[in-house]
Subunit: 197 residues, 4 copies
DNA sequence: GATGAATGAGCGTTCATTCAT
DNA sequence: AATGAATGAACGCTCATTCAT
């Protein structure tokens, strides 16, 4: 694909991210998306088979960026607690600093696409070596530093508060400064850590 | 309003809850809703100004039921921890046992309506005596049995995991038996309780 | 269905017949059809699931009218030749006097619908008592007054010239007065009659 | 025009014939046509002003091939009947053996183009020495071996059955073996021949 | 000359809402 | 009060045609 084409595709994905985040999938007409991306409607369909495929492609892109952000600066020599706090702090900052990405992901995971994608990722993690860094920590330390609980429950305890709080932050209901972020990260650790520790 | 009218309105709300939960706001046409409620399309507009107002009214109804379910069997003589566990367990069972209500609320809170509603409730709680039982516990015990954190952060730590897990349960990704429910409730408490305790 | 509804449905079918005949299925937008029928676009979809179903319904209506016209004044006591000439003359006059119907049918039989419909009618004729009057004559007299030929071949010899000529007539290439009509009908009989007779 | 250009043009016409025959004019996008012809979309517009002109050009090509096939092996010393049977048998075999050409011509003659083309050919035949071989026979023998009828009527009687039958053959409704072909040709002759003969 | 990415008018269809009955 | 037929703006998507490369 030519550089110009790649630019165009990126412009479409960028416009899609903004519009989907601000208005939702349904309320964002392809025509408006085209306008915002400075392309013709028809051009979108050169790059993406239909609206669904555009959404999927955008998800892949956003998820990729998220995964990269999460593992930035990861250090396997640290304690489990410190590794967890590092990862989850990365996650919080990324979502807080990328409200469009956060809103898009929230929508995506609540749509019919989302459920299947989630299940798919879960199976993938079980089946392949490619593992989310969180899952690795959970599996390695479950029953030790971390409570012996089903993976999904650990996920819920670790991520649930984050998503909840970011949502409120973006809604302007609460301010997330560095102190609050540290407190929440801490709270998440408290929720999953084995009490004996 | 005549008893017959009340019945009709209830039928509409019931049908709306089912359809919205199963298909989403957008994918649930008013015509289908009317069919399912055994009323004419026009009748819906007698009780609700438009689709948005129907959604709002349904929210009020569902939220009312939820608030009632949460405080069932509450006992102010118990310890803070026990009161919290009681409330949150009520919450979990209600949401788990009422998937339509849960799915509707999730959608609602992720829609443009949701943000405003949340802010409104917050202000209401501050301004009036009518207070959510959770807020009462948080305000009463913050800095004592419970961490000294902004209310929104406590909310996030307490409710975030619940919502996350119920979602996965309804998607069939995890089974929530009584043991798991107790473990999650416990985890939520661990997240907010003061470590000294 | 209320009388008003029936009127509306008829208006739609009438407009469809005219537009399809004059512009073809593809070139006749639903919006134009709605305008011509003095209804809203959406109303068409109350009566017909989609454009295809409208076309099918129109075919049924036109075919019905055609079948009725063909058998008008049929007299089983006449000779095979006279019965045939009567039927085919009816056919000619109907098509000549109903150019919209003729053009619509031509299009229909040349579309993907048409082939299947034709085969279906053929099977129906074989399987049930309901028989086209032409088929009855052909089957009864094949090998006697009429040549012993496959049914399809008799059809071709009898109808082929008619369709060909009507087409040219509507195109203004030839004038079909009563004399010409009689001559063509005669020619068709000559094509299928047994020479010995 | 360079040899390479001629090749390209032929490839486009070949692809057009196949696609138009199989899918119809409307359902055959220029892009698909370009792909099948192994040229760029833009190239089609170098050889043909627009889609209509491509259709026209294809018609000329197909018609040319048809006219040549019809007169193959013509022998002016034979009887009128034998000459007619020879020509019409040529016609039948060509159409039967070239289904793409037949389907294309049928579509063409049923489209807005067709009418005008037909009228144009008629005028041409009258105005110039270039005459269809059938027209020559009809004009020479009308009132003698052949009925005294308007040219268009003779056309209808002679060609109508052929087109009708080929259509059904391609639709799989009837098998045209050599016997059937001879019988149809015979029938066509019976339709136009003077009874006295 | 040849290409195919880009375009946007125009399509079939849906659905929230209205209003005559 | 209750109905549902009627409406048309708005949607996702296609494709003949253009034009920069």
């Amino acid at each position: 694909m030519s550089p110009a084409s790649i630019e165009k595709q990126k412009a479409i994905l960028k416009a899609a991210l903004e519009l989907f985040a601000e208005q939702g999938f349904h309320a964002a007409p392809m025509a408006q998306l085209a306008t915002q991306a400075h392309v013709g409607v028809g051009s979108i369909y050169r790059y993406f088979k239909d609206k669904n495929e555009l959404i999927e492609a955008l998800y892949e892109e956003v998820d990729e960026a998220l995964q990269i952000a999460i593992i930035a600066g990861a250090d396997p020599t640290l304690s489990t607690r410190q590794q967890f706090l590092h990862l989850i702090t990365n996650l919080i900052y990324f979502l807080k600093d990328h409200p469009h990405e956060f809103k898009f992901l929230e929508q995506y995971y609540h749509s019919p696409f989302g459920i299947d994608k989630k299940r798919e990722k879960l199976l993938l993690d079980n089946a392949t070596g490619r593992q989310s860094p969180f899952i690795k920590i959970f599996l390695d330390s479950s029953g030790k530093e971390i409570k012996f609980l089903p993976l999904q429950v650990l996920h819920a305890l670790a991520f649930g508060p984050i998503l909840f709080l970011i949502r409120d932050t973006l809604a302007g209901l609460v301010e997330m400064d560095d102190t609050v972020i540290a407190q929440v990260a801490d709270g998440c650790w408290d929720a999953i850590k084995n009490r004996a520790d």
